[in-house]
């Protein structure tokens, strides 16, 4: 899910690039040498995984997985998604060069929100909380992206009001699917290789 070239007007595009620059600088701070290959390789996985199609009736939709990027990479999710978008714009030839900024805010911002939601699991004590909060993070990631997209379209022009309704309606099944996939992935990773998951301990190391 991303917006294409040619749709948005100049102020929105510029705001997208400016916001992306700020967020990228903030989330890339204190990056270790070791993290460069790690974040890039995991970005490649997400890039590939987002090609998976889930059948919905006669059609199919792509997984977005920006929530899972947040759950796995934490704050580094933003540069990872930015990378993925640049590669997508370059590799597929589907365009998107002028909207890299807006798309990065849309998907990367969603990933950061998903990470925040994911971190909330430390404050509750229920069984299978990784699955529950993974699902919530997956839903939050896509929902935030949908909201940013709606705002970007509406700021460009009121003529897009109809499009916005369409976009928001389309997001509802996507949110459900993403929540299910990210929840199940988070639960799986927690059982198999919990050190991949971001932000494992913040407060009480004894409880985990």
């Amino acid at each position: 899910m991303h917006i294409s070239d040619g749709v948005l007007n100049a102020p929105v595009l510029v705001a997208g690039f400016a916001g992306t620059a700020v967020l990228a600088a903030a989330t890339l701070r204190k990056m270790d040498l070791e993290e460069i290959p790690k974040v890039s390789v995991i970005t490649a996985v997400f890039f590939v995984a987002s090609l998976i199609k889930f059948p919905v009736g006669p059609t199919s939709i792509h997984l977005i997985l920006n929530g899972l990027v947040g759950v796995v990479l934490g704050w580094r999710a933003f540069p990872a998604i930015l990378l993925g978008l640049i590669l997508q714009a370059i590799l597929f030839g589907h365009g998107g060069v002028s909207v890299i900024g807006v798309n990065a805010i849309m998907l990367g911002g969603g990933a950061l929100i998903a990470y925040m939601v994911w971190q909330l699991r430390h404050y509750v004590n229920i069984s299978k909380k990784e699955i529950v909060f993974g699902a919530l993070a997956g839903a939050a990631g896509v929902a935030c992206s949908g909201i940013v997209l709606a705002v970007a379209l509406l700021t460009t022009g009121e003529a897009f009001l109809g499009t916005v309704y369409y976009v928001l309606a389309v997001h509802i099944p996507i949110i459900i699917i993403e929540a299910a996939v990210v929840g199940s992935s988070a639960g799986f990773l927690n059982r198999v290789k919990p050190e991949i998951l971001a932000g494992r301990v913040i407060k009480s190391p004894a409880s985990s």
Binding site: A44, G93, H94, F160, F188, I196
Partner: protein, 262 residues
């Protein structure tokens, strides 16, 4: 899926011979100019210029059209939604729905600009090897950390694509058929998780291998860039074209009336 955009970068043409630094700078600015256009005639002119530039590259038509099909599919909904949801009165009704020409004009403008920009990005990245483009970007003051990560991600995208295909094959061999149900969702969740675990373990091996080969956070390249007169002439030509289009656009040349919202 044409993942390898640089498949035809070995062909010889004015675009392939152009210094990648100047090519990225010139066409990058041209893309920004296109993104700022507001009137349809100028956007169509930009589209023609973009097509002419691309035609110099000798890239095969099927290669370009394959990439374009994605854009067209993405933009088609705009033609269905915009004309029928544009606010205000309209005189024409199609199937009982109000049809606004203004909405149709916006959809057409969006479509033209998007196609023009995609043609330009084909001209940029289809005519140089990917790693050369990245080094050129680095010379253009793009942060080193970004270009390095892009090169890594690019390299491993193919590896994981293969890995995913293998996993998919083994799933279908065991009789998995994706359907619209919770079981499929859960399976895909585990699928992505497995892919992550495998790649995570691989990253550690990759990093150790790189360290042992002396990696210290920098890539060294044998690529050298050299801009000659011709390269600069092409650069100036594209920049002028972009500027002229923008000026004509903002002055409203060819535009019948002031466009209210855009």
């Amino acid at each position: 899926m044409p993942l390898d955009i640089d498949r035809y970068s070995h062909l010889s043409s004015p675009l392939q011979r152009w210094d990648p630094r100047l090519k990225i700078a010139a066409l990058g600015i041209f893309i920004i100019c296109i993104a700022l256009l507001k009137t349809l005639p100028i956007a169509i002119t930009a589209l023609i210029i973009a097509a002419v530039i691309l035609s110099f590259s000798n890239l095969p038509g099927h290669f370009v059209s394959h990439g374009m099909s994605g854009v067209v599919i993405f933009l088609l909904p705009f033609f269905l939604i915009m004309p029928f949801t544009y606010p205000g009165e309209s005189k024409i009704y199609i199937l009982g729905l109000p049809f606004a020409w203004e909405g149709f004009r916006i959809a057409l403008l969006i479509f033209t600009k998007a196609v023009a920009i995609v043609l330009c990005s084909f001209s940029i990245f289809g005519s140089s090897r990917f790693d050369v483009s990245m080094i050129a970007l680095q010379r253009l003051k793009c942060p080193k950390i970004m270009t390095q990560m892009l090169l890594f991600t690019y390299r491993y995208t193919y590896t994981f694509l293969e890995e995913m295909k293998r996993m998919h094959t083994s799933m279908s061999v065991r009789g998995f058929i994706p359907r619209t149900n919770a079981y499929t969702l859960g399976t895909y969740g585990n699928f992505v998780g497995t892919l992550l675990v495998r790649s995570f373990e691989r990253t550690e091996r990759i990093y150790k291998a790189m360290l042992s080969k002396g990696y210290q956070g920098e890539f060294h390249s044998l690529v050298t860039f050299r801009a000659n007169h011709n390269d600069w002439i092409k650069f100036l030509f594209i920049i002028t074209a972009g500027t002229v289009l923008l000026v004509m656009d903002s002055r409203g040349t060819f535009a019948q009336a002031a466009q209210g919202w855009y």
